[in-house]
Structure formats: C-alpha cells, structure tokens
C-alpha cells in the first residue's frame, strides 16, 4: 500500500495520455506508463466442481454460461418461428395449430429473441467473457454479484418456460404486451401466462442490473495501466454504452410490468380505462393504455441499441483484424456509439405514430429519428472504408462481417422509411415492419454473433472451428435469411397486416400465396442451417486444429494472456501494460503487420505510428 501511495504522488505531473517524456528535465522515458493506482484484485478461486463450474465467480465461465443458456432459449425461439411459418406458408399442414397457439408462439418468439437471446448473449455472454480480458483486468470487479446475475437470468428463463405449462398457456398478447388486451379474456394466456411473463421480466431486469453494474464499473475502474478510454477496443465501447442504456431503459420495463401485474391482480387501473366486455362494464376506469406504450417503448427503443451497439463494436474489431488494417476513424466510431446511445432515448415514440398519442409528437420524433441516421451512416462508411486498401482475409469471420454490412444497411434504410412519420402511416403494422426489424435487429446482429463465435472460439477453446463447415453455415444462413426478409417488404407494400393467423381470401393476400410458401421454406432451411454450427462446435472441440497463441495476429489484450485459453485471473503474475490503441495493423516500418497493445514504443522505434 505504501508503495502505491508513493507512486501516486508522481502521477500528478503526468497526463494520463502521456506516453513519452519523464518529469521535469530528466531524460525522456519512451515507455513510461502511469503506475497503478490500486493494488491487484483478490479473487476467489473455486475448488470444487460446484464452485468452479456451477456457482462460478469467474467472468469467463459466467460468460459461457450466459452464452449457452441464451443459445438454448434462442433455439426454442427458432422452433417457435418454424411453427409460425408452417401456419403462414402451409396452413393445411398445420391443422393442429389454433389461433391461440399461433399468437402464443408469436409472443414467445419475439420476447425470447429480443430479451432472452440477443440481450443476454451480447451483454451477458460476450460482455462477461471479453470486458475483463480486453481492458486487462483479472475479472469483473464484483465477481459474486456477477454469479448472482447469471442465476437470476437462469430463474427468469425457468419462469418464462414454466408459462408453457400453466393453465391457459403462455401469454399471447404480442411481445409488446399491450394492455388492455394482455390482461383481458380474449387474449390467450391472459391469466397465469401474462403474470409469469411479467415476473420473468422483473427477474431478468434485476439480474441484469447486477451484471450491468459490473460491466460499467469494470470498464471505468479496473482498466490496466495505460488502457485509456480512447485506447479501448470498440467491442468494449459498444458493450459499455449498451450497458449504460440498459441501466436507464430497463427500469421502464420493470415498472411497466409491475403496474400491469397490479392491474391484473389487485384491480388497479394504471393502464385500464372504462371497458365494456361481453355487455358488462368492468371494474376499471381512468387508466391510459397509451401510458404503457410510452413505458414499453422508452425501454423498447433503447433495447434495439442495447443489441445493436455491442454488435457495432464487435464487427468493427472483426473487420479491422481480418482486413489487417486499423479501423478507419476510431474517434468518430467512439463518438458515434456514444451519440447513438444518447439519441436513442429521444426517439421511442416513433413506434407509436399511429398509436393515438397526440399527433403533434410525430414532428419531434420523426426529426430525432432521422438525426440518428447520421452517426449510424458514419459507422457504415467507416466499416467499408476500413476494407478499402486493406489486405482482406476472406475467411468465415470476414464473410459474416460482409453479410452483416449488407443486411444492416438494408435494414437501416428501411428504418428511414418507418422513422419518417408520414411514410410510416401506410407501412406500420404491416409485413414491411416485420421485414425491417428482422433484417436490422434479427439477422444483422446474428451475423455479428456468428462472426464473433468463429473469431473467438480459438480463444475460448484453443481450437479453430472448421472453415469448410463455417462457409456452408454462412452461405445458407445469409442467402436464406436474405430471401426470407427481402421479399417480405413487398408484402407490406401490398398492405398485408402483421399478426394475422390467417388471411382468408383477401385480395391482398391471394396474390402472395406463392411468396409465403417460399418464405416458409427458406425459414425452415435457415433454421436447420444453425445446427451446422452446433455440429461444427462439437466436431472442432474433438478434432479441431489447435489454434495456439494469438492465431489471428490480433492486437487487443484478450489474445495476449500468458496461458491460452486464459485461466482464472487471466494474466498470471503481472497485469499487462498498454502502450497503444488496439488497431496498429500494417504500420509502415514495422516488421510484422500488427503491433500488439502491449508492445512498448522502444521496441518499434522506427515505425510511423500515428495514433497511440
């Protein structure tokens, strides 16, 4: 402790960004890095199977636990989507399915994919595994809380799945859970189903808050020496900002769920006006259904970016590493992430243009929504400019990145249609919306997840995934998913409304029967293709090529642990010391085409490094 104190005194003369030059007139020390301010973290090391693998406090294991459980719920969501597509494409083959079933599947598919799959996977999975490694920490700052976070998520999933087995089944109110229908008869699962959904969401938010605090404080407080904020890999920036959003947005969902439960169980009227049902006036009065929509979308829109920002960050790193080129415009990328995050709290009502809220809001929310397109477009430009004059490895990881760019730009541009208030009027509540959000926050983030899995699998397991299987997996997924959602926009132009169990013989639909069958077939194929990945993982774990240290020649810290795959505590005896940003690829004058973040300036004196 006394040593730390002494070191602290010296720091005052140094800016944290300073990389060269000592104090006063002494000889410049090229490799100077500000000393540590706190002593090394003490970790709890598990000894038994239970403490090592089940109730584990190692963020890496917790990340894998999150990943596996999120993937498991994701597969349930996938199966539900198959059932929905069976009904839509081949209703005669889905005779067992009633309208109640269909709406329950729609609801559970939506909620599972957005919250229990994508959010849990990006923040819980990648966040836990990568944050401590990338910022050079030994673990998350509150390992015990982190463990509780995962097990809360586990219970939340159990409660969610339990709703399939209660009387009335799971809620069928649509993933937006709009009252009054969500808690009134006439909607499937309006009894136990909706209550369990609310309880599960509350548990998820509680658990997620524990995890989220960990991510934030780890990034803010536990970075290693030399790891300034503006040297962090964009993956960390994306996850960090998304977590800030989650901390601010999830409470709105929490109170919305709580208030709806009170309306259901205690007969309060937060969201319930006077209602006439089957000739009887119910004992509600004075509440506002639109209030719930405001609460829901105040959560719901940032939620889109809670999924998108980590994806933005991860894809930036993958593109940079595999193009052997620095990410173009790093500072712009950081500010775009932060700016998008901030703006995402001022756009929520663009989901509500035709909800019956005061129509004058439309002007404000259309403007803010289209402003957000500017930083988003800048990110896209910077990704493709990173490819420009790169040395692009056309491996599976890069394919997922390119697939992401195509689907994200496509979905982003249809977002401009829907965000632009009067254009939204004819398109809202049609299949155009379904196509848009699946492209932009279903397929595009999925491309990133897959790219990230192929990229970091060698780090987690020490083995490469099979490239050959990976390419099959990519092309079926990308081409299949694109041919599901690209034509689907045109169903929306015809005017086909969403959430229709059956279209009967509406003139809008009869012209599109063929397309619906085609979309369903593509959906079956894309779903099945995901099992290639599972097969690939099992096969590669057994017989995969050993990856060794830093197999992609990357710069960031997660690849630089003394033991690969990293063990508990990550760094062995000494924490790494960071001298530069994570993107010094192909620096003129350097021997190799990468300079790791831990390489001291004195080791590469004859290079022309522009940014540190």
């Amino acid at each position: 402790m006394s040593e730390d104190f002494k070191n602290n005194k010296e720091i005052h003369a140094q800016s944290s960004e300073t990389i060269s030059g000592g104090t006063g007139g002494s000889a410049p020390d090229l490799d100077y890095v500000r000393p540590a301010e706190v002593s090394d973290q003490d970790l709890y090391h598990g000894h038994s199977f239970i403490t090592k693998w089940v109730f584990c406090q190692d963020a890496k294991i917790i990340g894998i636990q999150y990943f596996c459980l999120a993937t498991f719920t994701g597969i349930i969501g996938l199966i539900l989507s198959w059932l929905m597509r069976l009904q839509l494409g081949f209703p005669e083959a889905a005779g067992f399915m009633t309208a109640e079933h269909y709406y329950q599947f729609v609801t559970m598919h939506g909620m599972i994919m957005v919250v229990y799959f994508l959010t849990a996977l990006f923040l819980g999975g990648f966040g836990n595994y990568l944050i401590p490694l990338m910022v050079g920490a030994r673990d998350m700052v509150f390992p015990y809380l982190n463990m509780v976070s995962f097990w809360s998520f586990f219970v939340a999933v159990l409660v969610l799945l339990a709703s399939f087995f209660v009387p009335g089944g799971p809620t069928g109110s649509g993933w937006t859970l709009y009252p009054p229908q969500a808690i009134l008869e006439g909607t499937p699962g309006s009894g136990m189903g909706i209550i369990l959904m609310c309880v599960s969401l509350i548990l998820f938010v509680a658990g997620f808050t524990m995890g989220g605090l960990n991510y934030l404080i780890t990034v803010l407080q536990a970075r290693t020496r030399g790891m300034t904020l503006m040297r962090m890999p964009l993956t960390v920036w994306g996850i960090f900002t998304a977590t800030v959003l989650a901390m601010l947005a999830f409470p709105a969902l929490l109170v919305g769920s709580l208030m709806m439960m009170l309306d259901k169980l205690l007969g309060t009227s937060f969201f319930m006006p006077t209602i006439l049902k089957a000739g009887e006036v119910l004992e509600y009065g004075g509440g506002s259904p639109i209030l719930f929509q405001h609460l829901f979308w105040f959560f719901g829109h940032p939620e889109v970016y809670i999924v998108a920002l980590p994806a933005f960050g991860i894809i930036s790193d993958l593109i940079s590493v595999h193009s052997r080129k620095n990410i173009f415009g790093y500072r712009m990328m950081v500010w775009a992430i932060v700016g998008i995050g901030a703006l995402s709290f001022f756009v929520w009502a663009h989901h509500m243009y035709v909800s019956g809220m005061n129509p004058w809001f439309g002007f404000f929310f259309a403007t803010t929504t289209l402003i957000i397109a500017v930083p988003t477009a800048m990110k896209v430009y910077n990704w493709i400019l990173t490819l420009w004059r790169g040395n692009i490895r056309m491996n599976t990881v890069m394919l997922w990145c390119l697939g992401f760019i195509v689907t994200f730009v496509n979905g982003g541009i249809t977002g401009i249609f829907l965000g632009n208030v009067s254009v939204d009027v004819p398109l809202s509540d049609t299949y155009f919306v379904i196509a848009h959000f699946h492209m932009v926050m279903g397929i595009a983030p999925l491309m990133v997840i897959m790219g990230a899995v192929y990229h970091w699998f060698p780090l987690v397991t020490g083995k490469f995934l099979s490239e050959k299987l990976g390419k099959w997996h990519f092309w079926t997924t990308f081409l299949g998913a694109y041919s599901i959602y690209f034509p689907m926009h045109y169903l929306g132009f015809i005017g086909v409304p969403r959430r229709y169990f059956e279209m009967y013989d509406s003139p809008y639909m009869t012209s599109a029967v063929g397309m619906n069958e085609f979309i369903s077939l593509a959906a079956f194929l894309v779903g099945a293709a995901q099992f290639i990945l599972i097969f690939n993982i099992i096969k590669s774990l057994k017989t995969g090529k050993a990856a060794g240290k830093n197999p992609w020649q990357a710069n960031s810290l997660e690849w630089l642990t003394p033991i690969v795959p990293p063990e508990h505590g990550n760094w062995g005896d000494r924490l790494p010391v960071v001298h530069r940003w994570a993107y010094d690829y192909s620096v003129p004058g350097a021997k190799e085409d990468f300079i790791t973040q831990t390489t001291a300036p004195s080791e590469v004196t004859d290079t022309k490094v522009e940014k540190t």
Binding site: Q181, V281, A373, I405, V406, L479
Partner: protein
C-alpha cells in the same frame, strides 16, 4: 473471389426484384398519393445508398483480398473525408425528412368540409355512426351502451338525436369528399385500416383518436384491423363502399337515426305493455 461474385449477385438480384416485382402497392383509392411519392423518393435515395455501399464493399472484396506480403494502408483518420460524408448524409437525411413532415402536417390537419364518421370497435367487430342534419355527432359514454342505445349516446345531448346509426360492419362513403374518421373502442386497441386508403390510426379505449382521407375511387374495399386485439384479430374485418354522390344520398336516406330508433323502441315497449295488460 467467389464470395465477391455472390455478394454482387445478391445486390443485382435485389435491384432486379424491385424493378420486376409483381408485388407492389395495392392501387391507391384516396388522396394520400403524397405518401406513395415520399416512399418512392425514399426508395431512390435509400436504395441508391444501399447499392453504392454494397458495391463499394464488393469492389473491396475483389480488389483487396488477402495477398501474402502485401501491406494494407495505414491511415487512422481522414478528417476531410469524414467531414464530407457527414454533411452529405445530413443533407440526404434532411431531403427525406422534409417531405415526410410536410405530408404529416397535412395528415394531422383535417379539412373543414370533412364529414365526421364515428367508428366504434370492439372484440371483434365494427359499427359506424354519421352526423345527422346538424352535421355534428352527439357525445357518447361507454357505460350508456345497451341494446336500446348501441352507441352509448348521451341522451341529453341535442346533437345526438339525429345521428345516423349504421349497425353493420360495412359503411358507405361519398366519393371525393373528405371524411374524418373518429375512432373509439369499448375494450382493447384496434385500428381501422383500408390498404387502398393508405391511412390508419389506432382506436384506443378511453379516448377518441382521428385521421382523415378523401376517397377518390368508386368501389368496394375491405377493412382490416391493424392493431393486435386478441385472438379474433385476424377475423376482424369490415367493408367500405365508396359511392357517387347520388348513390350515397339514396343509401343515406335508408339509414335509421337515433330518434327513430328510440321511437321504434318505445313503440315496441308500448305494444308489449298493451299486450301485458290484455
């Protein structure tokens, strides 16, 4: 290399699909052609950006695929280029936003000569009410709704007496005359939507919402519920018949007003009491 070709074909295929698609707008039958125009504009600008970005990406794949020994360019930032791109995007976005807001301004400002139409929704059906000769709809209350007063009109409201009640899920509208659709719901959210008219708005229990359009093509159209309202959502259909002024007036004469309904009910009640006395 193969990857580049496939990506190129995907982009080309998207463009060709858009040009040759048999699935596009259902023919418009209202004044909201400006919405279609805004969408077409968005297609041109947005589609242009999509094609440009993806072609650039594909070009990079062809041109800069990995070669042993080649070194990538090292250029962390290019302030000038970033500035140009930011401004170009901002201008493009503004060009899209402006017409959007102009059309929205028209959408929220209802023309003075619009006829009010009360659209009442429930799980799962529609009925309609038109103002009588006074041109005004009577005020309503959900708790007033019963068999004798299917719209829940407040009996003391003088405007309500001559209201024309259409207890059917099909309504007739006059061609080339704007209508202000006043939506209300007695139970959950609904949305009265005719694809050919382009316009829509949710019906929310507890408040009255509105939108307007001017039908401009004689014909019959299907009404769809566009806001999920429970298990019968997909079956909640209705109809609109747009008629010339003459046909419309004939139809209108055949409809019953609220006072006629009350009178009829009273007559029935009177007969019943008479019968009971006998």
């Amino acid at each position: 290399m193969h990857a580049g070709i496939i990506f190129f074909l995907v982009i080309l295929g998207s463009v060709l699909f858009h040009i040759f698609t048999p699935w596009y707008w259902t023919d418009i039958a209202s004044n909201w052609g400006s919405m279609d125009d805004t969408i077409t504009l968005t297609f041109w600008i947005g589609g242009g950006v999509f094609v440009a970005v993806c072609l650039f990406m594909t070009y990079c794949v062809f041109k800069f695929s990995y070669k042993e020994g080649r070194k990538a360019e090292y250029k962390p930032e290019d302030k000038k280029l970033e500035r140009i791109l930011t401004w170009a995007t901002t201008i493009g976005v503004a060009a899209l936003l402006a017409p959007g807001l102009i059309v929205w301004n028209q959408y929220v400002n209802v023309p003075k000569n619009a006829i009010d139409v009360d659209v009442m929704a429930w799980q799962w059906g529609w009925q309609y009410r038109l103002p009588g000769e006074d041109g005004k709809l009577g005020a309503t209350k959900i708790v007033n709704i019963n068999d004798n007063n299917p719209f829940g009109i407040i009996l003391e409201d003088p405007y309500g007496k001559d209201d024309i009640m259409i207890q059917s899920d099909v309504i007739n509208l006059k061609n080339n005359r704007p209508v202000k659709i006043l939506l209300r719901s007695v139970d959950v959210l609904h949305n009265w939507y005719v694809p050919q008219f382009r316009a829509k708005m949710d019906a929310v229990p507890g408040v009255i919402t509105y939108y307007w359009f001017e039908p401009n093509k004689v014909g019959e159209y299907e009404v769809l519920c566009a806001e999920y309202c429970g298990v019968g959502h997909y079956a909640m259909r209705g109809g609109v018949i747009v008629q010339s002024e003459q046909d419309y007036e004939i139809w209108l004469q055949e409809q019953q007003t609220f006072s006629e309904l009350i009178a009829k009910q009273k007559k029935i009640e009177l007969n019943e009491t008479k019968l009971a006395k006998k």
